[in-house]
Symmetry: C2
Amino acid sequence: MPIDIPEYATPATNRQVLLTTRPDGIPQPEHFTLAEAAVPKPAENQILIRNIYLSVDPAQRGWASAEANYSQPVPLGGPMRALAVGVVIESRADGFRAGDFLYGFFGWQDYAAVGPEAVLHRATENLPLAAFASLAGINGVTAYLALTRLGRPVEGDTLVVSTAAGSVGSFVGQIGKKHGCRTIGITGDDDKVNRCIETFGYDAAINYKSADVAAELDALAPGGVNVYYDNTGGTILDTVLRRMNVGGRIVQCGTASVASWTPPPTGPRNEREIMTRRLVWSGFVIFDHLNIYAEAVGDLARMWAAGDIAYDTDLSSDIAETPGAIAALYAGENRGKKLIFIG
Amino acid sequence: MPIDIPEYATPATNRQVLLTTRPDGIPQPEHFTLAEAAVPKPAENQILIRNIYLSVDPAQRGWASAEANYSQPVPLGGPMRALAVGVVIESRADGFRAGDFLYGFFGWQDYAAVGPEAVLHRATENLPLAAFASLAGINGVTAYLALTRLGRPVEGDTLVVSTAAGSVGSFVGQIGKKHGCRTIGITGDDDKVNRCIETFGYDAAINYKSADVAAELDALAPGGVNVYYDNTGGTILDTVLRRMNVGGRIVQCGTASVASWTPPPTGPRNEREIMTRRLVWSGFVIFDHLNIYAEAVGDLARMWAAGDIAYDTDLSSDIAETPGAIAALYAGENRGKKLIFIG
């Protein structure tokens, strides 16, 4: 039985943000088209979801790309693949009921009729609803699992994080601090430098656009870097990599600074650094770790309840902002996790 | 009491191969000078060693370099840092006796007076003496530990090895085969291709100088590569890396194909590949693992006794070949582990 949803929140049509042309690099507004369709009917073994928070994630760049990397490209003409927090309006699938709050692949649209495989997590923990697309979303869980399992920080380590004020980096810094690391954030403006230190507890932060990152790192981490959590790739990676200590760990979680991979960009060769510094450089994609997703959310929710971790959302309530939201993310315009509230 | 060494084997002076100018890349004959000095006297807490097999190792390139990587540069004017198998002539150190056979940092010279810290391993296993600078030398132990601990091969994996017929690669292929891998070697001439298959048990081998490595790999490993044991770096690494399967492991053990690191060479950026393929790319230097060296030699000696692993030496008995031996190694001229027999 459908729950009682106020009239204003139940549009009679389904607004959708369609991917209509294939981006070469970062998706721009012109790659999308706003459209309206009929509200879908759930088929047998499907649920009908009313989206509340649409999520904007750096990973969407890869999903929209023609080249399959860890997922198949979003079909042209269909709604953009996106995570969202929504509520079940009608269930024709076992285990789901109207009124269940869910986080999953519900797309950039008002309504989604999906199978259970689209659901990433049930929003059952005692957290604000928006946190399920932030602290408990793929960005928070990525930060937690990639740092602890691949970065393996230990007390006294120096941890450097790129896109340090971002939706992943902001958690990496906080979790690293809890592990006894000295934390240094790299970010793109002075306001974010302040956010890193004031909001996310970094010991220090560098504005890479105005500072000499190499000189700043030499000054801030004279003993070298033990763990580098990289969300940017590019020249920042080149600079930090050459300051890693023997046995250091690099976690590759994103490549936000590299505008296009076609043609393949070049950089300094790293194999000798990897060998002589005995680095471990690992790639992380959250979708390999869905079997421990719920466990990680439980850990993060406990940290939040204990006041050990903060999250920040950058909210909009205009679906028309959505087509430009990925590009804005890569331009560093967001302050906190970018969500479009359409509930 | 000194053991009885035949007269011919006990020169009255100490022939030494001195590093007299600093190489920029691969050490060439002109960087060395053959000289003679008095036979040293062991000081308190030292042992006097008569070298029998002088070892030629790719790592000597790094040791001779001005840039400290994992070791301090060899002092100019001193004997070239080198591993050797020798016999104790006189001991003034606890725990060593005349007649003990040892493997360690005894330098390119007839005699060495060294402290116990120069000794890597006591040649006690039931192996031919030359094997202590080969199968049980840093090359064999490196192959064994780096493959099993960083490469983590499992039954059914496709393992690719560069410098596959070399002093490390030849063991990697054999050990990988014992772990149930399909093994593909990359090497530099057709004779070595044959040695890979006939002597070292590779399932297939590629002559990178005459073949299209990318096309050959696509044909030989249509299902992708799980473990890449890299001794070369450079374009071979670029090619294999882009054929790694999700979750693949790259072991960086050498960079033989890169002639000079000054100025730093460039190549295609790899951070996106590392992330999307979720690779683990690790550097290995044997000197981090000396605490398990003896245990590894025990394992390798048992494999040899069981007929599960073969080793090959490329012997010379002319110390005058030594100054050119590192360059010859990088040129791929050796057939088996290069040793200079001066006993």
